[in-house]
């Protein structure tokens, strides 16, 4: 069994109004010197295989086909 974590973030240059609102709220809480807050998503998956390369290829295909919208989002994969 391989555990995979996929992190999906907005590409640079894509407006993130939610990140901006969070940035404003953190500022309102008194956190200073804060800039460029971006909101993303995390997916944890279990792949039933012992083959790391195969698992990585499979998760990459999942990202391309569904988990990320590559028009606006980047993704990273980490396996454990």
């Amino acid at each position: 069994m391989i555990n995979a974590r996929v992190t999906v973030t907005l590409k640079n240059g894509v407006l993130d109004p939610q990140g901006k609102a969070i940035e404003g709220a953190l500022g309102a809480l008194g956190f200073e010197g804060l800039g460029h807050v971006r909101q993303g998503k995390v997916f944890d998956l279990q792949i039933d295989t012992a083959d790391k390369a195969k698992a990585e290829a499979e998760v990459k295909a999942m990202c391309e086909k569904l988990l990320a919208n590559t028009v606006i989002e980047n993704y990273t994969i980490s396996l454990a």
Partner: protein
């Protein structure tokens, strides 16, 4: 002209769409369920608005991967007209039938109100009943209608006249780049738009500015 309306769990504007198509064409559309892959012979396929799959993951993302979308893709490639309104537009971009993406409104608020649209290309199968540059009224109701495309894609769709509707000056409700409200694909047979023309087609709605879109797509004389 025959039409069809797609039905998926969570879409809720299908009845409005069926009513509009029936009243304007004189024929009731057939309905297509999400698992169907054998779409009947029709001239226009409509994906209505709503909240398919609860807007999980991204608006329209799950619906765009349902079997019916592969069949719609094949129909679009064969030249059949496809119209996506609101969630239908989101599904079309997620399915790759239209370029760009629809993101959370810049205001972060759900908007439900009437805006004005400028018909910036009246030379499409969906807009020929309007005059070039005509300003029409149209309702909007969405949380994720903020159209985005990278600079290169934007230049392509602008240069090709693929932008059909823009929010008229001062009425952009969601922060869409270039005030884009509705676009067609390069071939011109697939249109996606966030506003709801099906909700402004008769006196009971308080106006009929949306009628021209269906009159164009269904080849009937606008009333």
């Amino acid at each position: 002209m025959k039409s069809a309306v797609v039905q998926l769990p969570g879409l809720n504007r299908d009845r409005d769409m069926i009513a509009a198509l029936t009243k304007i064409s004189g024929n009731a559309p057939v309905t297509i369920w999400q698992t169907e892959t054998d779409i009947p012979d029709v001239d226009l396929i409509v994906i209505p608005g709503g909240f398919s799959y609860g807007d999980y993951l991204r608006c329209g993302a799950i619906a765009a991967r349902m079997p019916v979308m592969q069949a719609i893709k094949a129909k679009a490639e064969a030249g059949v007209k496809v119209l996506g309104v609101c969630n239908g537009f989101q599904i079309l971009v997620e399915a790759g039938l239209l370029p760009g993406a629809l993101m959370r409104n810049a205001s972060l608020k759900f908007v439900c109100k009437e805006i004005k649209l400028e018909v910036v290309n009246a030379n499409t199968d969906f807009s020929r009943a309007y005059e070039q540059g005509q300003i029409i009224r149209c309702p909007v109701a969405h949380h994720d209608g903020n159209y985005f495309a990278d600079a290169e894609t934007l230049k392509t769709i602008e240069d090709n006249g693929q932008v059909v509707f823009r929010y008229a000056a001062g009425t952009n409700p969601n922060g869409s780049v270039n005030d884009i409200a509705g676009i067609v694909n390069a071939r011109g047979n697939v249109l996606g738009m966030m506003p709801h023309p099906e909700n402004l087609i008769e006196a009971a709605h308080g106006g009929s500015d949306g009628r021209g879109l269906f009159a164009s797509a269904l080849d009937v004389i606008a009333a």
